[in-house]
Symmetry: none
Subunit: 224 residues, 2 copies
DNA sequence: ACGGCCGTCGCATGATCGTGTGACTAGACG
DNA sequence: CGTCTAGTCACACGATCATGCGACGGCCGT
């Protein structure tokens, strides 16, 4: 979609952090780096929300999870709804597994420990703008562990679906993610024509004639 | 407990990969690095399983997910059952979110894209042996995306919806019924242009850019 | 009375999609 | 050995969609 590498505008960063001392340090660090700029600095989530109505939304939000007033996770959820295109990086001193779990569930784009040092924050910002998800290896490990723990209900088959092949379900899934055929083709490294062929067959099996119909049916019937 | 840095034995690595060309490249890369050794190289999961009965199990398994015969994910599950102590690193060209999701759910220790280059594989092996979870930033992003998708609703009650107008929801509903814009216009006895306008605004509020994306989001979030 | 939101309509352009048609490969099954 | 299925790719045509732009009347709140 967007080629962040060739962007001509500076990455706009908001900082939501109650500790004034730390806040100032981060702000200066961000501003001193090329390609990014701290466009807003708020001590509470409430203040940041209010600013959303006034200012132009940022590209990246650095969010401290332990804030006075609105909880950090809650704030994250609100940010995700009001500015989904903004990438939120959690900034905290805790590497508590449960906090990480809830943060990523809420749609955090990255999870950076304050103890990692201020200089790491710049890296994290660049990474999220390049589509990556900055995480320390320890955090990544905790994420995967949590993943394999919640696995229980993935093999709920038994119900006869519409005899879709695995490949057809793949394409359908990506369709339901809002991707264009072209993008699906790129994601699966196949030709757009092939994607079309698969979708054509899906239409037949699902007895629909439009992409929206197929996605809706798939979602409602739990095919994907 | 065990200090992997001062281990006196080389890390034993198995490679399960059908592409002989790539396979050989990885093998040489691994062997050329210090502290690890490619102890086995199998073109299929079946072959690797058979070897499990004969050879001593490896510390790390590099597993291509797109294998002839047994599916990569299935193979991963089997490995996890038969040699739980072995750390499995998924090696693939796909960065399909669903595949990644199922892989990590099945207990993958890491997920490395082939496109990242062979040299990254050595890093990944060291990382898993140090208890980390190697992931390319792109993969990490997809993992987080999948995460935030499986637990979408923690609020369900208090949270506001996307401020969709009643009319906009009408159009969205009909979209989710698989109707074309033209048909929606007829059904509501308005102009196609009006339908377009509504959908355009829905896109903005839902932060999507395709009809399928809008329908999927609406369905998943219970907007309609 | 004025601004803001909602619903409506229009147009134009380029991208995307649906569909008919055809074809090749690899593996599975008998 | 044929036959079938799944997956792949290609081309072409018309239909449909996304999007930027502009516009108008109605209703509501202050």
């Amino acid at each position: 979609m967007n080629d962040s590498k060739t962007r001509d505008r500076k990455t706009s960063v908001w900082l939501v952090e109650d500790n004034a001392m730390f806040s100032m340090g981060v702000r200066r660090a961000v501003d001193s780096l090329g390609g990014m700029q701290c466009a807003g600095c708020y001590p509470t989530a409430e203040a940041a929300f209010a600013a959303l109505d006034q200012e132009t939304p940022p590209d990246v939000i650095l969010l401290d999870v332990q804030l006075p007033g609105i909880d950090g996770i809650t704030a994250l959820q609100t940010f995700r709804k009001r500015v989904p295109e903004a990438r939120v990086i959690i900034l905290t001193v805790f590497d508590d597994a449960d906090k990480i779990f809830r943060a990523v569930c809420a749609g955090a784009a990255g999870y950076v420990l304050k103890s990692s040092g201020i200089d790491r924050i710049g890296d994290a910002i660049r990474q999220v703008m390049d589509g990556g998800a900055p995480m320390t290896p320890e955090v990544a490990k905790k994420v995967l562990d949590a993943f394999s723990r919640i696995e229980p209900t993935l093999d709920r088959d038994s119900m006869e679906d519409y005899h879709l092949t695995e490949r057809e379900r793949d394409i359908l899934r990506l369709m339901a993610d809002g991707l264009l055929k072209k993008e699906i083709a790129q994601a699966l490294d196949i030709s757009v024509h092939t994607v079309s062929t698969h979708m054509r067959r899906v239409y037949g099996k699902l007895h629909v004639t439009t992409n929206t119909g197929a996605v809706a049916k798939a979602l409602r019937e739990g095919i994907i």
